[in-house]
Amino acid sequence: MSNSAPSKTVETFMYDDDIVKKFTIATLVWGGIAFLVGIIAALQLASWQLNFGTSWFTFGRLRPLHTNAAIFAFGGNAIFAGIYYSTQRLCKARLFNDTLSKIHFWGWQLIIVAAAVTLPLGLTQSKEYAELEWPIDIAITVIWVVFAVNFFGTLYRRRERHMYVAIWFYIATIITVAVLHIVNSIEIPVAWFQSYPVYAGVQDALVQWWYGHNAVAFFLTTPFLGLMYYFLPKAVNRPVYSYRLSIVHFWSLVFIYIWAGPHHLLYTALPDWAQTLGMVFSIMLWAPSWGGMINGLLTLRGSWDKVRTDPVLKFMVVALTFYGMATFEGPLLSIKSVSAVGHYTDWIIAHVHGGTLGWNGFLTFGMIYYLIPKLYRTELHSVRLANVHFWIGTVGMLMYLLAMYTSGFTQSMMLRAIDPISGKLVYPDFVETVVRIIPLYWVRAIGGVLYLIGFLVMCWNIFKTCRLAPKHLEAEVYRASKMTEESNEPKTAWHRRLEGLMPTFSVLVLVSILIGSVIEILPTLVAHTYTPANSGVVPYTALELAGRDLYVREGCYNCHSQMIRTLPEDVLRYGKASLPEDSMYDRPFQWGSKRTGPDLARIGGKYPDLWHYRHMLDPRSVVQNSIMPAYDWLFDKKTNFAILERKLEVMQSLGVPYTDEDVRNAAHAARAEAEIIAAGLTGDSPIKGLADREIIALIAYIQRLGKNSEKSEGKK
């Protein structure tokens, strides 16, 4: 640090590549599982028999496992591997603390295991990509803070003053994901692995999709863009096309992304102005997204010949192309009239898989093909196999996407078809539209299988590459000058000031997390303001609430929405458009995001109890050609009446107008209600113990759906 020293202080250091290897291998392991579960779920849609009548194996429970594994296990480990590798090199510094790295690694794997156990068991909050229950939420927060400390500590010790653009993308990721996760996960525990969110109905929907959209933005986009900005120039050995553009890309992206969430809720009970806000900001995202894609692709200018031979570049070019397509399509789908067609259909499934399989998957594969030979100081075992992977993967992806686009358009056109003369729906039976797209579900599943085969080829290739590595790798020692006040810097007074960025960013993280914590407590104090008074809507009865929790447990929201949009085709098919009071006591909200089956917002009273009883036992006995699995276990398992008092107590504390009497009497009242439903089902020949079964509670809940606005109107 001596100012007078003629030569700079040179330090030697080593990188921690062991942790990078660990995260890379974890990426491969969990990737295989995520893809496999995805294929199983896809096959279950093509053939309902593959649900095997087993509770933990049904689509409603496996689909969240697939999304969580793909995003947080495959994507998460890939991000951590890439960030830890590139940050050390860009900062010319070893990771801040080896122990923190290890805690980060093993903590994250434990969280994944916990998710893989709890989700099939039906322990879920049902908020998409935030399904995990509260103890796991807390663990995620802790591990994320460990990651943040480790990362920012590394930046603090860096030997390179300028922070390359990739680092900025990582910073935005770490800060924003922390805030998103905390705000969306504010919940009151009811038991171990069960909780109610503090937000209800419309509020819960808005918070969830604010989270959901930004999970895509800051977990699947910004970190991968950072990786792209590091690994693509490295792989092609050319500087990024325009560094200036990359900086503009970064700042404009992080400013705009955070506002785009409401585009998931177009034509719903969300106020119009919020919908328009989400739409406008989504369209604005076109510019930075395409700026980034073009910047990446133009980095290859003059080097396109290398794309022919280098598998790393092949994967990255296709990844960028898919990034461009997905970010073109996203704003397009955010336009209200386009959303009217695409929402709730397989178009959205195509959209997200273009992003995940194409952008996240292929960028990760490219990165791993680059990383492994570097880490093991050897050559890739087989370039040919990598090319095989590339082509099988690409063909699989195209099959997947074409099938889903066709399916989405086909079903949407059928569902929207209104006879111009009679003004009636052309296809009044929902199941008709489902039968039409089943063949496409098979094509999709085959596409997924190809993608997995390509991935397995890669795993073999990587395994062989690791085996090629010299047995004893001499630890690499690097040297660089210590970063001093004047190193690499112009001489103005501003710049002479001690490197100030690191403390600032640490403070920013801290502030963000503190804000999150304050917010975590605040809503519980003001919860009563979330529920409008005097709406005339009475809260769920204890039995209905028990049934509602079963609806959440079985993951019904994965296939059924509870939101009738303000669109003619929705109103004709399902009834009056949903109002905020329809879901005002819904914790969590169940608006859903996909209609593999019909909307259920106003299903209550549409069919008799017996219809639902038979439907849950064997859907095809009442709806021919239905693809819904049977739910036999609801007829064996007993409703947990004992916990209802606690449930109502929590709801009461959240401002739901239950009297103390309601709470004390919850179990008793629920039993009494169940007896009435059971008696109605069986008539003169009662089945002993039927009232105790879960199916009764579920029927009570289903028959309540849509009754809220009737009541509020009666009041008016």
Partner: protein, 58 residues
């Protein structure tokens, strides 16, 4: 829509935080040079091991 009372400050805090980070880092010269960083990141770290010099590394 009381939820706006919660979400708006959070969104503004995040956006404001990023705005602050941008102004702060610009003022400190982080973006003065928009050419060399792109080239500098391509250079491999300077290796100190005599035995590994000249070999592919990093």
């Amino acid at each position: 829509m009381n939820i706006i009372v919660l979400l708006l400050p959070i969104a503004l805090t995040l956006a404001g935080g990023f705005a602050f980070a941008f102004v702060y880092s610009s003022a400190r010269g982080q973006f003065d040079d928009l050419e060399t960083p792109a080239h500098r990141m391509l250079l491999d770290s300077d290796i100190a091991n005599e035995s590994l010099k000249g070999q592919p590394h990093e």
